[in-house]
Symmetry: C2
Amino acid sequence: MAFSERVSRLKSSLIREILAAAQRPEVMSFAGGLPAEAMLPRVEWADMPLAMGQYGMSEGEPALREALAAEARALGVPCEASQVLIVSGSQQTLDLAAKLYIDKGTEILLEAPTYLAALQIFQLFGADCITVPLQADGPDLVAMRQRLEQHKPAFAYLIPTFQNPSAVRYSEARRDAVAALLDEFDVTLIEDEPYRELNFDGGSATPIVSRLKKASWIYTGTMSKTLLPGLRVGYLIATPDLFPHLLRLKQSADLHTNRMGQWQALQWIGTEHYRNHLAELRDFYRVRRDAFEAALQEHFSDLADWNSPQGGLFFWLTLKTPLDTRSLLKPALAQDVAFMPGEPFFADPDANPGYLRLNFSHIDPQRLGEGLKRLAAVVRQAQVAEAA
Amino acid sequence: MAFSERVSRLKSSLIREILAAAQRPEVMSFAGGLPAEAMLPRVEWADMPLAMGQYGMSEGEPALREALAAEARALGVPCEASQVLIVSGSQQTLDLAAKLYIDKGTEILLEAPTYLAALQIFQLFGADCITVPLQADGPDLVAMRQRLEQHKPAFAYLIPTFQNPSAVRYSEARRDAVAALLDEFDVTLIEDEPYRELNFDGGSATPIVSRLKKASWIYTGTMSKTLLPGLRVGYLIATPDLFPHLLRLKQSADLHTNRMGQWQALQWIGTEHYRNHLAELRDFYRVRRDAFEAALQEHFSDLADWNSPQGGLFFWLTLKTPLDTRSLLKPALAQDVAFMPGEPFFADPDANPGYLRLNFSHIDPQRLGEGLKRLAAVVRQAQVAEAA
């Protein structure tokens, strides 16, 4: 059986296995990144034109592209509708970017930690991952300059607003500094913003792409975290030098994104009822975050440190006594608790033990305390065993 | 700007340009492969559960996988639901197959001609295309054996039932012989069947994958030609040795296929109203084919030869005096007529002049005669100019 060379890098997905285990109804899961079922909005389909059933344009629905460009301009991103490409969920943007840039051995610049599914697809295509450590308010700028002096990455992939997994939001100053560095070294930026609208403190730092003066960029967003993930509708906005290539790659990937999801997205973007829905989402998740943090204080304050996330869906815990958190999975699942180990979010997992990603949006509040209590017991037991 | 090596093979798509030109309302287009608008069925969305808005499984909806496996078994394809992967239109199957198999220089076996968008994505990934000429009832078996003796293709990609572009349907004997050859040389088969149900003479040769005894296979189908292309729902069925890899590649491509389209497909597959719809479709397209053939007889009988298609959406014309049909595009569009030149359907376009692909399903019957008359005049004029 002769598969491609890249298939040898197709890892058995830890996430898949964890999420499969987390399907059991008795499992208290902190593992996934699912929106809360209770906050899926009721949507209407009755008015959708029959013509949405016909083939559509690879670029996406013109009216939706216009609406998304207007939203992006309101955020300070200079763009026209002609730069907007509708994709089948923002995961597809990563696939298109990998195809556009990555040969075996191509250097790319990533945050450490970074989004696991991005790491997987970039590595599948053979990327050589150069990483910059994240600090509380953005990447380590000294390290970033050093990397850019020593390497010539094809692009930098950054998640500056409530990053999955770390929940880090870059400060204004870091955004400016990162933009200046990318301009100085002329490195293309891929800025991934699925969580921008899930914001609990009203902060609104503009995207880094809006601060670039010279470098090319791809800005990506999605309907999955704020409307309905099942629609599989995301979008990218790209500088005109990149757009035609991305469009052809989109066409060869799946012709175009499903039109029902695009039509539904258009019923919401830029409307009063979408703004109301977003306000409800933020309130709902803020309450869940606060309850989660209170339970964390009770069960984990002697075991781990964390920053309170100002947006997004995750707490990122740093164990006071590091250990390989992948080894906690089996005992946790035996206690009907699921979580995401931190190691797979690093290009070099073995060198980065001792982090846990805990989702706070999906767990039943009634079971939150019991779940964290059990997880803390698993951590304690592993640390005792390791010390022995 | 450092793109990947593969981007240098990303051709400016002739199809895109033709289809864009064909958008002008005054253009009589024989170029696309669109279902007739009049035959898009009315679909209901009112009963769709809200839960379809949540993230779904990468494999696809369990009930849809079951229904498709049952349909495939009824065709003689030995499979379980666990072998069915729902994809975002069958174009995505080609993307997943390219990722699974193709490195730069990987040999693959194709029909000549073959589906243009398959050729494009396989070549994008760097495939070295080995081709077998198509005859009226299937591939040239002598040539096919010779290719298999001289090469070791990673897979054979075949469209045995009403191929796009040639409309060829393999005979029973050719299906058996091709299966035996693939078994003998242990070459994986990718069998693409978008047009199986668009059948005008009631023939029902079973898929080649159902005749294999040893070789691995991927069988692909879609809702796009018989229900609604805008849903972007297709599927593949793969042997168990291939399935886990395809699943992981699907997950990294776009997580999962949109669930509204999957839910809608499930409302139709295997039902009485779907069977009725298919019967209406066949009647409608048969009438269009007959009208088209009558107009062809009137305008093209001195210019070209063709076989009457027993299914699918296309006539494939062989000019009696070959010329590069790409050179006809500009004068045809100047006459407000669009068509697909035959050359791009071949791995070696320049060596295969003199074919035209004409879609018969989409053109307004009122304008059919005028369109073919103008196209014939363009061909005649080019032949006169060439002879001069």
